[in-house]
Every structure is written in structure tokens, then in C-alpha cells.
Symmetry: C2
Subunit: 347 residues, 2 copies
DNA sequence: CATTAGCAGTCAATTGTGGAGAGTGCTAAT
DNA sequence: ATTAGCACTCTCCACAATTGACTGCTAATG
């Protein structure tokens, strides 16, 4: 495949991504300044069509990329665009107020992905069971209620109230024991050990055993991951423009609402490097009519963009990669560093 | 207006809500078993049209309700349908696992409204400033970090970490002072008083003043209300069926994303009784092409359904009212009551 | 006076037709 | 390998004709 053929392919993909219109041999000459005749271009197009990289919508129409064409484009032809200073600045700005609440941070990130790309943005929360325990605090609220707060590397992970009656001294004892034994352990281990305590390995006081059972249960229930999605109404027009019927397009949106199914899929796709999954490359049937651009940011969390197959991959790669790395940095820094101090709040 | 005219109106509204098709005089006779001729019905229709209750889409088409017609229907003709046992049971089921996290409960409720109605469901969170302080706990996590937890009538309302170095004794002292002075006060008062402390009315230790400033700021930032919306992709087909253009329909969805504008509007509309706001009765321009059915459930919170103007009002009223009252009950019960105990969890 | 039968008039929806325009494929020449 | 030129294909748009569903009106009826 010679250089001119590559150029023709690139022109077709670029043009179709930009305008949504098939590109004809004549327009290609005019707009991309080739110094050959349109017939030559047509011959090249025929070659590309035989290789399955472009196609026509009907016999006498211009050419547009096939999914294989997009794949080829993404793998070989795309030049990774840098974000403009302006965009970079906007991203920094929106992370300026460091939130302590991790879920809020993730929601914000999804919003950022969506608004910068013009498609839907999503963030799959980290697997908290992979993070390490910083400390667990027990607070006596009144006679029969105790507040349990679990703090991990990523900040406050969970709080819950437990109905149990313990003296301050007892609380102190438990607290010291747990923190000494479990600090630095991964939360899934913590959960396992809480279960052992609950079964009586530590104390034989049944009330206490209950407390641990509750703690374990809390960890279990709330360590569920969340999938934050933002801006999918912006996605809809793009999908419809591609000729998708409304019901199909809504299926795409609905699958994102089903966090269980989509989460595990997104995680299985992701890698530390940003990558794309185009149209029918998707294993999830409902997503076969759109494309994903995503990357992992740590602790098995994933960020990405969901758009039409005719997506501006270059821009999507740039945005996802920049924001993903940003998020990774923020989360990897100890959360103690990020906390607002008065001085910072004021400026 | 005689009984037969009312029957004709009701038939037209019922039929249009069910099928989306205008009703002709002939079909009306056949389906609703009137013992008069079609000409008579046509005369009645003419009367109703003159009163602005029904209209035609073009000169030789059947009749369909105007917005005034829906309003009349809702005010005088709608018979409030009871939810089926099955539906009631489903609602109870989904509230069976009492969540401690209020936001999770609200999200769940929005989901319930959406899935039962087939339209979009929303829940505006309570004004936390109207709830009363149960207690504030300070926990020393390590040398320089203190965890602050605010518990109100509705459960845990806020937690944050503050960067401050205090001895356990000092913490104990502050804690006792605050809880004694402020328990039972509304959170907006608490915020105000925190501000006074911050300005030095209590201690003159600058570090402490900073702590209170932070507390105040936290309360301020996080007492923002949230608008939980679920299932608005289900709303879209309904809106489009009504002949709304996609852009207009998306405007409707977008306005719900703008929590600030829509929240205050929804609150201003709501009353303790379930009520409807139909089409152009809405003050918010973007909502003029759809209808709201909503009610207040306490602490200025609102639940409701957003649907097309051609909505099944009878069903929407039943669902909103049932779920709204359910939610009110759950929140009004002291949160201590709802907490899971082992016994309940296990069964 | 309310009701009815019958007929004329209105309009949407559907189908078919024809011409213009855009673009390709092929062939023969360079 | 490239090019010019021509025939062919298919979409898109506008226009017309036909069909069918309802209504409005009028004159007759109990």
C-alpha cells in the first residue's frame, strides 16, 4: 500500500469524521491538493474498498470508512493531538478544589470527559478492596449507637452506624486492636479478618461478634463499585445522525444504567494505556453501534468516553489520556496531601 | 354541561391517553356504547371544542384533548386508581433494606418512580438546614488530622477531615461544648453559630477558630441539595411521539441536569398533596412541552414524575402519592429506628 | 327542541412519476 | 501507471393523483 493510498484513506476518514458526509474522488482532489486526476483516486479507492477499509452507501455514492477503516486509522494514521493550552487549563481549574469525597471527584471527572468531548463520559470507581486501610475509627454517639468510619488510602471510604452498646474503654480497646493489626492491609483482607473476629477468634462476647459481623457486612455492601456517567443526552444526537434508530440508541444508553453488566465489561477492556474499542469489536451486543475510548487509572478504575463510531478519535484519545493521568496522579498522592487547609481555601 | 358531554370528554381523554390517536365520533359510539347517533356526538364535540377542552389536528380529523381539557380531566373526571397489590408489594420490597445513607434512599426512590410510571422519576433531597442536629463527633485520626461527623435527624449528613492538631482532651472539650449547646438546633443555626465561634466568640486560639471556620464551610458546601433523576431515556420516546422535535425534547432533559434552576422551581410548585402541572402551566419555559406530577414529602423535599403532556395522570397520581407518603414515613421515623440490627439483617 | 340521516367538503397519508445532480466504473488512449 | 470521457446507477426532490377517514351542515323527525 503506497503513500498516496494511505493519504486517500486518511482523507476519507478525516473528512467523514468532520462532516459526516461521504467523500467523492473529485472533492478529495480539491480539498486535499493531490496532483493526480480523479480517476487515479478512484482506482485507489477501489483498492481500499477491496481491502475492506472503505465502503459506499450505494453504488454511485462517495466513500466512507468501514469499521476496519477506523481501526486502521486509529492504529496507524491518527496523529495524537495535544490538548490546547486552554483545554488543559480548564481541566486543571476544575480539579483545583480538591474534594475529599472521592465519589464527587469521580462524578466531576465524568462530567469533564463529557463536556470536553461532546459525547458521554464515564468513570468506573476504583475497586476499594484493592486499597489499603489507613484507619478505622469507632465513635460512641449515644448509649446504644456506635459510628464506624473506615479510612483507606483514597480517603474516607465508608461510614455506618452500628447498634451496639459498648463502654468508651471497650471501644478504645477494639479500636487500638484493629488499627494495630490491620493498618496497611487491603480492605478485602480487612473484611475477611472482620469475619474471623465475628466468628469468635478474637473475643467470645457475642455482642462484639455481632459488631464485627455488621462491620463486615457494611464493607461488603458498600464496596460495590459505581459507574458514573455524564452527558449521555449529548450522545443521542450523534448516534441518531449515524442512522441508528431511536430504540437502538436508547439501548446503548440503557446498558450504561446497568452498572453490573457494563462495569465488568469496561474493566476487562481497559489497560494502563488509552485504547479504543470500535463498533462491533465490542463484546457487549448493545455497544456494537458505538465506540469506546478508555484507560485504566489505577486500583482497577476506568475512565473513558462513549461516542458514535464516527468519533473524533484523535481528540478522544487526547482527552481521555490527559484526564485519566490527572486522576491517577490525584488518587495516588496520599489523600492527606490533598486536604484543603485554610490557607489554600482562602486564596 | 350535561352528563353526556362529560362522558364524551372523558372518552376522548381516556382514548387519547391510551392510544395516542384522536377519537372520531363513530369510534366513540362503538367503543363507549353510547345510545345516540354519531351526529349527536359531533354536536357535543363542537360544544366542547368551543369551550376549549378539545381540538382537532386538522379540519377533518378526530378530536383530542387540549391542555385545558387535561386540566379539566384531572380536576373533575379522573378517578384515582389504586395501585395493584402487586405494585404496592413491589414498592414495599424495594424499601425493605433500609439504607442508612439518605442519598442512596433518595436515588432508589427516584428509580422506583421511574420504573413504575414508565416516565422519568425525580426526588429533590430535603433541605438539610431544616433538620435538627443530633450530634457532632470529632475523631482524632492521627497527629494532624481530625474527622468531623455531623449527624442530624435524618442520619449522617456530612463528614469531613480537617487538618488541625489538637490533643484528645481538647477534642473532648470542644465536642462536649458543641453537643451541649447545639443539639436539637436546626443545621442552619449550627452553621451560623459555628461562624461565630470562628470569629472568636468562644476561644481565642486561632487554630481552633480555623477549625470552626472549616466546619462552617463544610456545612455550607455540602448542604447543597441534590436532584436525583432516573429513567429519562424512557421519557424520550414519549416526548418524540407527541411530535416534539429532538432538540426540544433534549432541552427538557437538560433542564433537569441543571439542578439549581429546576430545584427551586420544583420546590415552589410542590404541596403536601399530590398535584399536576400540565404543559404550558409550567413557569419554566423548557418544561412547557411536558407535565409534572409531584408532591412534597417533608423538609421541603419533593418527589414526582416527569412525563409527556399525554400522560396517564391517574396512574401517575397513584404512584407519586403512594411513594411520596412512604418516603415521608421512612424519613419521619427517627433514623435510629431504621437501622439494621443483626436480627433483621439475617431474616 | 333535542336528535338524526345523509351528503358535501376537507385534509392527511400513500403511491407513483419524472427530472436533476452527484459520483462511480469501465474502456481506450497516453 | 495514469488519464479523459462517457455510460450507468442511485438518491433526492417536487409534483400529482388517489384513497379514506371525519366533520359540518341541512333538512327531516319524534
Amino acid at each position: 500500500m503506497d503513500d498516496r493510498k494511505l493519504l486517500v484513506l486518511k482523507a476519507i476518514v478525516d473528512h467523514y469524521i468532520k462532516t459526516g458526509q461521504p467523500l467523492s474522488s473529485k472533492t478529495l482532489l480539491e480539498d486535499y491538493g493531490l496532483r493526480v486526476s480523479s480517476a487515479t483516486v478512484r482506482n485507489d479507492m477501489k483498492y481500499l474498498e477491496k481491502r475492506g477499509l472503505i465502503r459506499k452507501e450505494y453504488s454511485s455514492a462517495g466513500r466512507l470508512p468501514t469499521e476496519r477503516g477506523y481501526r486502521f486509522f486509529v492504529d496507524w494514521l491518527v496523529q495524537l493531538s495535544e490538548l490546547t493550552r486552554h483545554d488543559q487549563h480548564a481541566i486543571m481549574q476544575s480539579y483545583r478544589f480538591q474534594r475529599q469525597q472521592i465519589e464527587e471527584l469521580l462524578r466531576q471527572t465524568a462530567f469533564l470527559l463529557a463536556s470536553m468531548s461532546g459525547y458521554a463520559g464515564f468513570v468506573l470507581s476504583p475497586r476499594l478492596e484493592e486499597t489499603r486501610l489507613e484507619s478505622i475509627a469507632f465513635v460512641k454517639l449515644d448509649e446504644e449507637n456506635v459510628l464506624v468510619v473506615v479510612v483507606s488510602e483514597l480517603g474516607i471510604v465508608e461510614h455506618c452506624m452500628i447498634r451496639i452498646s459498648l463502654s468508651p474503654d471497650e471501644l478504645q480497646e477494639i479500636s487500638a486492636l484493629i488499627n494495630e493489626k490491620l493498618r496497611g492491609h487491603r480492605l478485602d483482607e480487612v473484611r475477611r479478618e472482620a469475619m474471623q473476629f465475628a466468628q469468635g477468634d478474637g473475643w467470645h462476647d457475642p455482642t462484639l461478634q455481632n459488631a464485627f459481623a455488621l462491620l463486615k457486612e457494611t464493607l461488603e455492601r458498600r464496596l460495590q463499585r459505581r459507574l458514573h456517567v455524564e452527558g449521555f443526552f449529548r450522545l443521542l444526537p450523534s448516534l441518531l445522525e449515524e442512522g441508528l434508530e431511536l430504540t437502538k440508541a436508547l439501548e446503548v444508553l440503557t446498558i450504561l444504567g446497568d452498572a453490573d453488566r457494563s462495569s465488568s465489561y469496561l474493566e476487562s477492556l481497559s489497560s494502563p494505556e488509552v485504547r479504543a474499542c470500535i463498533g462491533s469489536e465490542n463484546d457487549l451486543r448493545e455497544l456494537r453501534s458505538c465506540s469506546l475510548v478508555l484507560m485504566a487509572y489505577g486500583f482497577s478504575g476506568v475512565v473513558g468516553i462513549l461516542g458514535p463510531i464516527r468519533m473524533d478519535y484523535s481528540k478522544a484519545f487526547a482527552i481521555t489520556s490527559y484526564i485519566g493521568n490527572r486522576l491517577r496522579t490525584i488518587l495516588t498522592l496520599s489523600h492527606w496531601e490533598q486536604m484543603p487547609t485554610l490557607a489554600r481555601e482562602v486564596d
